[in-house]
């Protein structure tokens, strides 16, 4: 069955690539609009060799890494606290939910006004995008902890601190990781959109520039690069998640 899946998936991707390659050659579509797989690959090899490429990747990756690290560093503890203390939660939940329900990228223009067009504004966009799902899921994780475990821990005279560290935190970990995975894709989207909107360097900056220059092959190379990054990052967190679930059981 597995073999069959791989075979069918591969065939369908090959068919797509073949159609994409042949259609412009046959004159069905204009290669200016669609480019071709062969051209994208050739262009990609050229781009990778340039110094500018390394610089762009460095800028985008550091914006993402800083913003995402901040989102985890603030989102997880705050989420655990809100899950633990109901008054705090009722106080902060409505504004958090309002931001969660909003397309958070609508905040982009005002973040640019506040932080300028440099790296700081992208870090902030990644942070806002990723922190909310991380916070919400950490909160839900704490609230979902089996009550009987808490009762058991308390009846064996565990201190509040022990209850938190030894029961609540480990039990809510799978939910925290889920939040991190959800935050990840929002973070990647944030970097790209932020850089496309206003920036001086970075992968999103290049996407916008090549797009407006109609250089479709350059554009598509960067698109695939970002997709590959998003896919790899999401898959690795998912693998971690599955491992945690199996050890939790």
């Amino acid at each position: 069955m597995l073999k069959n899946r791989v075979l069918v998936s591969t065939l369908s991707v090959i068919a797509f690539l073949a159609a994409w390659e042949i259609a412009p050659r046959a004159g069905l579509v204009d290669a200016l609009y669609t480019s071709q797989p062969s051209r994208v690959i050739v262009t990609g090899v050229e781009i990778i060799r340039t110094r500018e490429f390394l610089h762009d990747v460095y800028v985008s990756l550091s914006e993402f890494a800083i913003g995402f690290a901040l989102a985890i560093g603030i989102g997880v503890p705050l989420g655990l606290l809100l899950g633990r203390f109901a008054v705090l939660r009722h106080l902060l939940d409505p504004p958090i939910m309002a931001i969660y329900a909003t397309p958070h990228l609508a905040l982009l223009p005002i973040i640019i006004v506040w932080l300028g067009i440099g790296m700081a504004s992208k870090v902030a966009v990644v942070f806002v995008g990723a922190a909310i799902p991380i916070l919400v899921n950490s909160m839900a994780g704490v609230r979902g902890v089996e009550r009987s475990w808490l009762l058991a821990a308390r009846s064996f005279c565990a201190a509040e601190r022990q209850v938190f560290l030894k029961v609540i935190f480990p039990a809510s970990l799978p939910s925290v990781i889920l939040g991190i995975r959800l935050g990840l894709s929002r973070g990647v989207l944030g970097v790209v959109v932020g850089e496309m909107y206003q920036s001086q360097a970075g992968v999103g900056n290049k996407i916008m520039r090549y797009g407006s220059e109609f250089r479709t092959d350059h554009l598509l190379f960067y698109v695939f690069l970002v997709s590959l990054f998003g896919f790899t990052a999401a898959s690795s967190v998912r693998a971690l998640e599955e491992k945690l679930w199996t050890t939790a059981k």
């Binding site: 109901a86 790209v192 797009g211 554009l219 997709s227 999401a234």
Partner: protein, 255 residues
Amino acid sequence: MDNGKMKGTKPVLLGIASFAAILLVWETMVRLGWVSPFFTSQPSAVALSLSRAARSGELWHNFAVSLREFAIGYGASVVVGILAGALAGRFRIVEYALDPFLWFLYSAPLIAFYPIFVLWFGLGAPTVIAITFLFSVTQIAVNTLRGIQNVDRRLLRAARSFGATERDLLWKVILPASVPMVVAGLRLGVGRALMGVVVGELFGATAGLGHSISYYGALLKTTDMIASLVVVIVVGVLCTQGLSAVEARFDSWRT
């Protein structure tokens, strides 16, 4: 875990209090000159700007433009997403063939296609609609697929052993059993479609709520920008709340 569930209206009151506190702090900080209204504006000015935009008709125009883009893009993604998801859920080979593309669309920052769409469709509504469609269609397709795949095997076997035909199975077992999952996909799809409309409009639109945020932002007219942002937030909250209510109904219908 939630010991001492707060009774009655207390959570609601606390929620209202927190919004009121935010507005109050915001207004006083500006009034006292601690922060510059150039950066943060102030609630009273935003309210004025909103009422002016509402009276001049600008607000309704932008709202109508965004709503139309949303309706077309999301509508198309519901039809295509459910159809593709249902086919993939029913036929293994379709699932395997679509799988790599769904994965790609799911993990790609789709907005990166925006410059290509501008090439294809031109600046304005069609591009925004295309982005809205792409943002929401994968979510709906994947949820429909999972919904159909996760139908309880025992239900299927039971129906078959009582002589149900394939058509009966589809209409009387598979579809009803997968509805909650599909509805969840539709709800998540709405959120992503809203994001698509706003982001699409931020870049290359000529009207709409996202466009006016971006437009006033570029002019550094913070008050008008925040006014449009408030409208987007309110629309987002109303959509999410409404859909959660709808979903709760469908969920109870299953059991």
